[in-house]
Amino acid sequence: MAWFKKEKKPLETPADKKVQTEGLWVKCDGCRQILWKKDLEQNLQCCPKCGYHFKMTSQARLAMLFDEGKYTEHDAGLASPDPLEFTDRKSYRRRLEEAQKLTGMKDAILSGEGLLDGKPLIACAMDFRFIGGSMGAVVGEKITRAIDRAIAKRLPLVIVACSGGARMMEGAISLMQLATISAALAQLDAVPKPFISVLTDPTTGGTTASFAMLGDLNIAEPGALIGFAGPRVIEQTIKQKLPDGFQRAEFLLQHGMLDAIVPRKEMKAYLARSFRLLGAWDETAA
């Protein structure tokens, strides 16, 4: 749940913030250079100077994956009824409303169906802006329904993870999503139709400990933070500073946890090629 820490960091002054969120330029976390936002947008949110991969919104992600950016959205109306009636210093309802306003989504994932290179595909993309991309019952239900759809229609599946893990404000209900989604993937195994998990920065906690690590292929974007425990928790446990690059995509590749690291620009072609090699569309008229 690393996402929460961010919120509590000493905030920038309101003026700074305005520049960052509404200005025309942004500072690259990779090379510290100032980038025109337009350049960034035209480059799939990757730094034109150093290749650093910025986070993408769910909408931009699905638009990038599907042909001509077109897709049919599924389960758009699913929302959390706040089952625990959770309130700490701020109510969960309030957090949900704010996130909904910010993202134009009811929860932290977008589920779509469209064409990839002319062939049908089911795809979901998480959105870090929505309470850190955390997974509660709505995210779990939308992913489970997407898997059901892939099974029923015999279509390949892509899920793009970008998430701090299970959503604390839904307690054990959010924890149980890990089991529900994983069991649905067990049913997809029996079809079988390929599922490719795309891990982006960051993918941690319960998200990694469920569907994100269960792809027939697990591929990641360069530099993505991927792990079970957050780096801060590990540092506190072992009382040492973590080595450079720890829990980055390159580290996971080296330790055998990923099939490949794929830059965003090559992602769509990589997915299409992999699905073809696996015969994903062999019996589907497209």
């Binding site: 749940m1 929460f4 820490k5 109306g77 699913l78 929302a79 959390s80 009824p81 089952p83 625990l84 959770f86 309130t87 700490d88 210093r89 509660g136 019952a137 709505v138 779990g140 239900e141 489970t144 299970a166 959503r167 604390m168 839904e170 307690g171 054990a172 209900i173 959010s174 924890l175 149980m176 890990l178 089991a179 529900t180 994983s182 069991a183 649905a184 993937l185 067990a186 049913q187 195994d189 906690g205 319960g206 990694t208 400990a209 569907f211 994100a212 690590m213 269960l214 792990g227 079970f228 425990a229 928790v233 590990i234 506190q236 446990t237 072992i238 009382k239 973590l242 720890f246 330790h255």
Partner: protein
């Protein structure tokens, strides 16, 4: 008991410093307060349960195995990397019939605690659990899992060896096993580290056990930036057996002796025995196809937690 706790605190303070050790010291200090009859602290009911679930005299997994099963033969190792002492398992008999049992194991004295890594499992522990469960399924032996962990171990080696993958893979593969699986949350159900062996056909939860996505301490430190709100955090996380039953995340609450399992370990085991027998009998009556079908259906019951706009 206070003396024993003081001794353990001193021993741990002398041990190598780590967050795990310091958290354990903090827990022991709390238990010490309780043991001294210091009731001044205002404690919510949920927090009381957390303390009972972590009580140092509470029966642990190997205690239940000793009291409930016969012919236990421990099976070691994941055939990949090592043998994790924080998760034990093996074949045994329950009332004459073969079962496979796997469970998290905590240590009671300082030496055992360090050996068992405070019940915090590494990837090889989860992989051992799956190996044993598959072995059971191969020979049509029902499975009992005993859940009691603060959580999966957050360490460098655990990450290098794929802690997340180990948990995820268990969740998917256990869902496929064609034998009855009974899950008993008997102490701490600490997040993904607990869930990795807690998918099954019946989930039983002891009266004073807790099951949560995050510990009250961590929840407090994230939401309030300190540990002082752990009592409040325990309350809002809805982590008691009653809460979980209300959400249909567990099927049955197993009663404990008055005051908690630590007051009478034999009676705690006897109370669990009855519920376990009933659950096993029910599940043995089902075909393998029906078992797996119902297991999947059980996990889909969560739909009431979303609303359609």
């Amino acid at each position: 008991m206070a003396e024993d706790l003081e001794k353990q605190i001193a021993e741990l303070e002398a041990a190598e410093d780590s967050e795990a050790v310091r958290e354990e010291i903090a827990r022991l200090r709390e238990q010490l307060e309780g043991a001294r009859g210091d009731q001044k602290l205002e404690r919510g009911e949920a927090w009381e349960r957390v303390l009972l679930a972590r009580h140092p005299q509470r029966p642990y997994t190997l205690d239940y195995i000793r009291m409930l099963l016969t012919e236990f033969s421990e099976l070691h190792g994941d055939r990949r990397f090592g043998d994790d002492p924080a998760l034990v398992g093996g074949l045994a008999r329950f009332e004459g019939r073969a079962v496979m049992v796997v469970g998290h194991q905590k240590g009671r004295d300082t030496k055992q605690k360090l050996q068992r890594n405070f019940g915090m499992t590494n990837p090889e522990g989860y992989r051992k659990a799956l190996r044993l469960m598959r072995l059971a399924a191969k020979f049509s032996v029902p499975i009992i899992t005993l859940v009691d962990t603060p959580g999966a171990y957050p360490g460098i080696g655990a990450e290098e060896r794929g802690q997340a993958e180990a948990i995820a893979y268990n969740l998917k593969e256990i869902a496929k096993l064609r034998v009855p699986i009974i899950v008993v949350i008997h102490g701490e159900g600490g997040s993904g580290g607990a869930l990795a062996i807690a998918v099954g056909d019946r989930v039983l939860m002891l009266e004073n056990a807790v099951y949560s996505v995050i510990s009250p301490e961590s929840c407090s430190s994230i939401l309030w930036r300190d540990w002082d709100h752990k009592v409040e955090a325990a309350r809002i996380l809805k982590l008691t057996a009653q809460d979980l039953l209300g959400f249909h995340l567990v099927d049955t609450i197993v009663p404990e002796p008055p005051g908690g399992g630590h007051t009478d370990q034999e009676q705690a085991a006897a109370l669990l025995r009855d519920v376990l027998r009933a659950a096993l009998d029910e599940l043995r009556a089902l075909s393998a196809d029906e078992l797996v079908r119902q297991r999947h259906q059980r996990l889909r019951k969560l739909a009431p937690f979303v609303k359609e706009a």
